[in-house]
Symmetry: D2
Subunit: 134 residues, 4 copies
């Protein structure tokens, strides 16, 4: 499953009544980690499973539309850029048909000695199955 | 809808790998507020709608079973105690059939002058439709 | 150090402009864990250090006064009840001299086989140094 | 005050034991909002005060060093780019002398009719007092 659906509640919204800018980030991670997990890859145990570890090196969000309490949003993980030792995923947040927020997370693969490592083949193949963000 | 279902992700779990104790509280509020909203009551605008406001005076959670990353939990709002000017709701978190956490939130009704107010009739009737926690 | 001081910001407050009820819980944990850490006890590694592990079995908060954005709060950990295999700590949140929220967390000590264990002596001695909540 | 200092606790760290990537964002907002507030500008009430409102249009964080539980971090707000109707602030997170995370937030000024508005003069003057991020 490449998406997660949730409803905004009071705890997600600031005093002005719109979604707090930071609430999108945990939903990106949840969507990504659950998708990996559903496909047999455990984000927290890649050293044991693949001999490399994967670190987040960048995250960002661009806010295109205001969302407010009780809006239902769907976060979908997309392929943005797949390199040799790093990859960037996009996270499209839709309210119905409207794209309201576009997030990105960049991950880098490292050897246990902290040098660059290629993306493990099984992970690379899985990333290729994602729809492209462009 | 009296329940919300969600999956635990890395951001919900602490370094020991089990769910962080505080993550249950926003899900209680989300379950409660969405249920009210689905039934036409806006938790944030009761003064405008009913002439009273409702404040949270107590919250608690009892942890019965450990839950870990990727577990799917369902939070269900239940009726615990309905008084004349305050009410306590219970929030049962189940993983499958197992009750893993039991939360409670107590709300008090106040006049705009901050004195005790009876629970608005429409809210009281709605609370009565909830299953009992006992 | 038995206390932590912080200022409420927009992300801590809900649409009504008052502090969201759940924000107090992570500050209780931060105050508790940092205090333990300052005294040489690592909350996440008690099995390795003492042969027992400590689990949170209950948390609660009673809201006595409304706090709003930019208020400065101090959370202080206090001794509430020390038993033989479990203990309850209180967390007093003050805004200046005014007690605005009173939190509690109850912890139970367990053997690696999940049976009751006495509170490790070094931890028990440290708990005794806390001011009483009553 | 252009900075906020805090210590990482268990709730800030994921199962791998390093700071969860999303925890930096609320500290950016807290640092920014408290700094504005200390200088007499209320981020949530700019329409009333200046006749324009300010929306966050982008946020990002680049992770340069891993931080772990109990690390003490200082978040400092810096001037990154000041335009005519929008501005970008940088947020440097230091552990001692080491820059561990670099965040950014971009804000745009709008008229109540949602068209571009110049940065209010008083805000622009205050932004100019910030140290530059470059």
């Amino acid at each position: 499953m490449t998406s997660q659906t949730f409803r905004l509640s009071y705890g997600d919204c600031d005093t002005v009544g719109i979604a707090y800018f930071a609430i999108f980030y945990p939903w990106m991670e949840r969507t990504y980690s659950c998708w990996l997990h559903d496909n047999g890859i455990r984000a927290g145990q890649m050293v044991e499973d693949f001999g490399v570890y994967v670190v987040g090196v960048h995250s960002e969000a661009t806010y295109l539309g205001q969302v407010t309490v009780f809006d239902e949003l769907t976060c979908t993980v997309l392929r943005d850029r797949i390199g040799t030792s790093s990859y960037t995923l996009a996270f499209a947040f839709h309210r119905g048909d409207e794209l309201v927020t576009l997030g990105k997370m960049t991950f880098a693969c490292r050897t246990p000695e902290h040098t660059k490592a290629p993306i493990p083949e099984r992970l690379a193949k899985l990333l290729d199955t994602l729809d492209s963000s462009s």
